[in-house]
Symmetry: C2
Subunit: 204 residues, 2 copies
């Protein structure tokens, strides 16, 4: 199994390749792709090599080959269903994001505790938390985006886990306590912004 860091690169190769393909490229060199996504050529080759993806000596890699290999690795041959929990600003923004489709993902539903949200017009159906189990089962969902306020995060995560969710993209700034079989990926935009400030020399 790939490392978490490596997976990130592979997914970025995929995005870069899609762009390059749109520009008419049919084959690509490790150096070219590396430059496109910000990775050294050696690392590009190593990553592909690690997954048994072959190029042609002196001929580079075929874009379509690469894309279909990556598609297979990441299960992009079928559409992956996702739910968004918490229909605040961020949850709403995500539910409207068109990028999911391009990545063969589908946001099947949103959830919120606030009954006022349920009537509102969103791009996706929004349910109360009571329907969680039902929707998860109906759409065979195993991954959720958690976009609720900090205070509600742990309790909501518990509910997700109890209904069989095994992956949580956690946008709340807390460490979630979950069973071992549940994977949590934390993304904290405030932290990302703050460390950008620190390293860009803005501070002091």
């Amino acid at each position: 199994m790939a490392s978490f860091t490596q997976t990130k690169r592979l997914l970025r190769y995929r995005m870069g390749l899609i762009r390059l393909k749109k520009m008419g490229l049919e084959k690509v060199f490790s150096y070219t792709l590396g430059k496109e996504v910000g990775v050294s050529a050696e690392l590009v080759r190593k990553d592909f090599s690690a997954f048994g993806i072959k190029g042609h000596r002196r001929g580079g890699y075929e874009v379509d080959d690469l894309l279909s290999s990556l598609e297979k690795i990441f299960g992009k041959d079928r559409i992956q269903n996702v739910i968004v929990v918490g229909m605040g600003n961020m949850g709403r923004a995500l539910s409207m994001y068109k990028g999911f489709r391009e990545h063969n993902m589908n946001v099947v539903a949103g959830f919120d505790i606030d009954p006022a949200k349920l009537n509102k017009k969103f791009h996706i159906p929004v349910y109360s938390m009571e329907s969680l189990g039902e929707v998860i089962e109906a759409f065979n969902v195993s991954v959720a985006v958690l976009a609720v306020p900090e205070v509600a995060a742990q309790e909501t995560a518990n509910q997700l886990v109890s209904h069989g969710i095994s992956g949580i993209l956690n946008l709340a700034p807390v460490l979630l306590k979950t069973p071992d079989h549940v994977l949590v990926n934390n993304v904290n935009l405030m932290v990302e912004l703050e460390r950008l400030m620190y390293h860009s020399g803005v501070i002091q």
Copy 2:
């Protein structure tokens, strides 16, 4: 200077400490804080040690001491101004996020090329791209959140750089070409979601 990885942890300690303080804690052990933010106790101690932050042998660390040290490191004694460029779903959501205030940051303005956006009621004033330079200067902004569509990202980044921005939080799924003195921090929610799927065993 700290590494990029270390900075992330330090910022998370800060958030964890704020939570623990709210819960009434006055002193904290490396193990406790580590558990709160998901880091080993040794690493917590090493991180603090690297910044000259001292605890008491057998007595742990004083929460207020830690917080004020971290505040100093990250320039949290004054408010840091930020702009959001691109008032689409994500840009709008960010501009409304209350977390900025808690982190001593202030979103002073939003920008968009779409004139229709300029009239709309947002939580922050929204300007056309022509006002970029003016606002950046007026509010002494050096960091921007880039939330424009993929195709516009590079060109918009160029404009930011030309107006003196030195840090970009890039939410668009492209590698930006920027001068060396400009730091870019890429956050790609689709990639984060996809690798969650991969590693949580959803695929195959």
